[in-house]
């Protein structure tokens, strides 16, 4: 029965069911769903078309299952939200009813229609009909597919040894998996190790972190690689090959951390861990609780350059003979199944706020410097002192949102600074109750568990919260006291306050080297620069790349509790994959039509994954399915139609183009969007209700590299006014560099268009990331000028596109 249902061969046997979803009012608010369903019923092979409130609900799914069985449906179309959201849901429903899940197709009438055309009900309804027509045209040509199974290496790589990385590594290792923890600094601990106390419980930060750090250091399942960086990542979910550069410490593991070497070292430099408030030597340990506790020699500072040992003081001082200047940099090759990215964040540099005088006025410090000053193990032994005269100030001011929520810094809220200031103010009150404390804020955001209580406590203790940031800080040159000038916006008065010290509550920024990590793992970043999750609500710790997960501040600014929560979640998600031991790979890989292949090797040249072998004696190529990721750039390159992509065949895409251009083609834009960036960008535009013209018809391909010149030519031949090909930015391509081929093909097409006397503006190429919904909307808007300028004559002329080569 299942067999018969899932493999209908004859065209006449095709029985399509169409379900148009209202999504409450999300779709029905701007699209007449009943009308769309009635229209769908008139399309070829459609045996039934229904509209309902929530197709994704249990009842909605049950209805589909019932119809598959009772009405003998062998193809299903759901017109609702983005396939990136609910395709898996409906595919599962189909499978449960015995229908191969590759015989299902979605029409995205929410993100790509109702949400972006909120006020144009008629045009939106027409567009929805077109989208359904396109989906029905494609679904009729779909074939049942079987997925191949890939095994998963039960080892994980955690990048970043801050509290998130530590937690993720411990959770995975405790579950029984082997974990490599890579940290670029000499010690794990990250930002949390620098902080004095944590909010809202006022626990000593290093006291609660140090035990976890030492657990990592001695865990039998964790290999800790400090002073190391990830160089290269190859492979795919379950089977990553990672190259790690392990830089030498020049001190062997036998080091007892006695510190005698440091005492005799003649080189002195600021200690980065103390934000430059204390010194260290060239041979040093960043802080007392460092893991590993082994000392390290900073060869940038050490007198011994290259191979000449000029200064041997540390060597002589070390009783255990652990200093070895012959240690070499190693490159390790790791095989891992899953990867957790927990690379953390940087701290905003407030020098850009010239009016606050950071680096000009010694008594203006950052909140991170404050943490080191108030810390008993810090450079001042826990005394909050003014850097100018080493005296304890009688009054201090906190300035909030420095580098956050402002045009001159970053636009986003850094999440932790309000609570951090409240905690810091209470710490000062605890040690020096008479200190006068002012906190200048924009809004106080005390939203978490126990946060409001802490805020109340601070106010009760006499911390003055004043709304309105100072416009300027002026320093008394003699005393180094600081005058703050600004407006109290609640009382509408100008204030002019003198304090002994100012603490700038600085924001959190993406790591400077985020771009490298982004390239290595083909991640996406939000406009803020933090890594983007696969889905903001339902897959918040999954990266878009399979087998990669995110934790901590790398994903967005967050406090310790949230970082730990997210790290445990990421570990659990990675653990699920590794516990299963295998994963099915989507059946969207390339397929060879051997008879057509001439062995010209053009496909092999463009394949980013080396998944195509040439068999010279047979004058044919050979496709390696396990290495194929399904971008389809080979299929687009093949001049003999010898390669087709499963589930994205030429016939299916051409059918979608034909359906999109059936009515009023001369007013339409046919857009080819890659699944990862441009299509997701269009979804993003929908989610954010960015309105754009209704004449865009988006066709999804896995990569813009799939877009064969013949698709563009077909669209023009069918009379389309304009064509948009949109993919990921260079360097962001999910198929390494397949989008470079897109560029080359577009250039060839432009040349051809010019030769034929066509306006080349009618074909546009755009690089749109998953976060650039605005760019998609504006591209669509900008193309309207081209659309309206195209004459009937030109449309007629462009029908020649397909004729000549």
């Amino acid at each position: 029965m299942t067999e018969a249902l899932s493999q209908p061969q004859e065209k006449d046997d095709i029985r399509i069911g169409v379900y148009v979803c209202h999504c409450g009012l999300n779709i029905a608010g701007s699209v007449d769903c009943k009308q769309v369903a009635d229209f769908a019923a008139t399309l070829p092979h459609v045996v039934l078309a229904k509209d309902n409130r929530y197709t994704c609900s249990d009842q909605g799914q049950e209805l589909i299952k019932k119809d598959i069985k009772e009405e003998k449906l062998n193809r299903v179309v759901v017109a609702s939200c983005s396939p990136r959201l609910h395709e898996p849901t409906f595919r599962r429903a189909c499978e449960e009813a015995g229908l191969n899940k590759y015989l299902f197709e979605m029409a995205n009438i929410r993100e790509h229609c109702s949400w972006v055309h909120l006020y144009e009900k008629d045009a939106a309804t027409e567009k929805a009909k077109d989208l359904v027509r396109m989906a029905v045209a494609k679904v009729a040509l779909l074939e049942p597919e079987t997925e191949s199974v890939v095994s998963i290496t039960p080892k994980a790589l955690v990048i970043g040894g801050g509290v998130a990385g530590i937690q993720a590594a411990l959770d995975l290792a405790d579950t029984g998996y082997w974990v490599y923890l890579v940290e670029k600094e000499p010690s794990i601990g990250g930002r949390m190790a620098q902080i004095d106390k944590t909010f809202p419980t006022m626990d000593c930060s290093i006291c609660i972190l140090a035990p976890k750090m030492s657990d990592v250091g001695k865990h039998p399942h964790i290999e800790l690689l400090t002073n190391s960086e990830v160089l290269d990542v190859k492979g795919y979910i379950g089977n990553f090959k990672v190259k790690v550069l392990k830089k030498p410490r020049y001190v062997t593991k036998d080091c007892s951390a006695c510190g005698e070497c440091s005492k005799v070292c003649p080189v002195i430099a600021p200690n980065e861990f103390d934000v430059g408030l204390a010194t260290r030597h060239a041979v040093y340990t960043p802080f007392a609780q460092a893991v590993p506790s082994t000392y390290i020699i900073d060869r940038n500072l050490c007198l011994n350059k290259e191979n000449i040992i000029v200064c041997d003081k540390c060597i002589k001082a070390c009783e255990r003979k652990t200093i070895d200047f012959n240690m070499k940099t190693e490159t390790l090759e790791l095989d891992v199944g899953t990867i957790i990215v927990a690379t953390g964040a940087d701290v905003y540099d407030p020098t850009a706020f010239v009016n606050y005088g950071y680096t000009r006025y010694p008594n203006v410090i950052t909140s991170l410097e404050f943490e080191r000053l108030i810390n008993a193990g810090g450079p001042s032994g826990g005394h909050l002192i003014r850097p100018s005269d080493v005296q304890i100030p009688d009054s201090v001011a906190f300035i909030q949102c420095v580098g956050s929520r402002s045009e001159s810094g970053n636009l986003y809220c850094s999440n932790v600074c309000c609570m951090n200031t409240i905690k810091d103010a209470l710490l000062i009150k605890e040690h020096w109750p008479d200190t006068k404390i002012y906190a200048y804020y924009v809004d106080i955001r005390a939203f978490g568990k126990g946060f409001e209580d802490l805020y109340k406590r601070a106010r009760k203790e006499g911390v003055l919260f004043i709304r309105g940031l100072p416009t300027e800080i002026v320093e008394n040159k003699k005393t180094h006291d600081l005058w703050l000038v600004g407006e109290n916006t609640l009382q509408q008065e100008i204030y002019k306050t003198k304090v002994g010290m100012v603490i700038l509550s600085v924001g959190i920024e993406p790591r400077q080297d985020s771009e490298i990590i982004q390239r290595l793992f083909t991640l996406s970043r939000t406009p803020d620069g933090f890594f983007m999750e696969a889905h903001p609500k339902l897959r918040p710790v999954d990266a878009p790349t399979g087998g990669v997960f995110l934790a901590g501040c790398a994903e967005s600014p967050k406090d310790i509790k949230d970082s730990v929560t997210q790290a445990s979640a990421a570990a659990a998600r990675a653990g699920i994959l590794m516990a299963k031991g295998k994963v099915t790979v989507e059946a969207i890989t390339s397929k060879l039509i051997s008879d057509n292949c001439t062995g010209c090797q053009m496909c092999a040249k463009v394949c980013p994954f080396n998944a195509i072998n040439v068999v010279p004696e047979r004058k044919k190529v050979e496709l390696i399915e396990a290495a194929c990721s399904g971008c389809g750039t080979c299929g687009a390159e093949c001049p003999f139609d010898a390669i087709t992509m499963r589930h994205f065949t030429d016939a299916q895409i051409l059918a979608q183009i034909d359906a999109a251009t059936e009515l009023d083609a001369d007013k339409k834009i046919v857009a080819f969007c890659c699944n990862w960036c441009a299509y997701a960008g269009a979804d993003f535009a929908g989610v954010n209700r960015m309105q754009y013209p209704t004449n865009v018809r988006i066709i999804r391909t896995m990569c813009s590299g799939r877009v064969a010149p013949k698709f563009v030519e077909r669209a023009f031949a069918r009379g389309a006014a304009a064509v948009l090909v949109a993919g990921c930015h260079f360097g962001d391509c999910h198929y390494i560099n397949a989008n470079h081929q897109t560029q080359k093909r577009a250039e060839r097409l432009w040349k051809k268009m010019e030769r034929l006397g066509l306006n080349r503006e009618r074909l546009q190429l755009a690089w749109i990331s998953a976060a650039e919904g605005e760019k998609l909307a504006s591209t669509a808007k900008n193309m309207q000028a081209v659309v309206s300028s195209v004459t009937a004559e030109e449309i007629e002329k462009s029908k020649k596109m397909t004729e000549r080569g």
């Binding site: 600021p270 408030l277 204390a278 010194t279």
Partner: protein, 95 residues
Amino acid sequence: MVPVRTWRRPLDADKVKPPQAEIHIIRDRCKGCGFCIEFCPKDVLEESNEINERGVRPPKVVDESRCALCGFCSAVCPDFAIFTKEKNAKKKENQ
């Protein structure tokens, strides 16, 4: 290393001052091989303009405060013409 700007004078800068050096050059022993100048990790020495008894230019001190007292100059000098001493050590002796 940690990407932080370290612009402040560290609070303990005075306490951890490295020992100050006193560099002694016995000019007429020098044969001008230049090893001390070449190998000094802090570039404390350079060739002087005067000519010594042996007819070569001995080294001269550019900035004594830079010297880290590693003692490599005296170790490589083939003619025992240069040595370093700690300044405070001498003072302590006097007291």
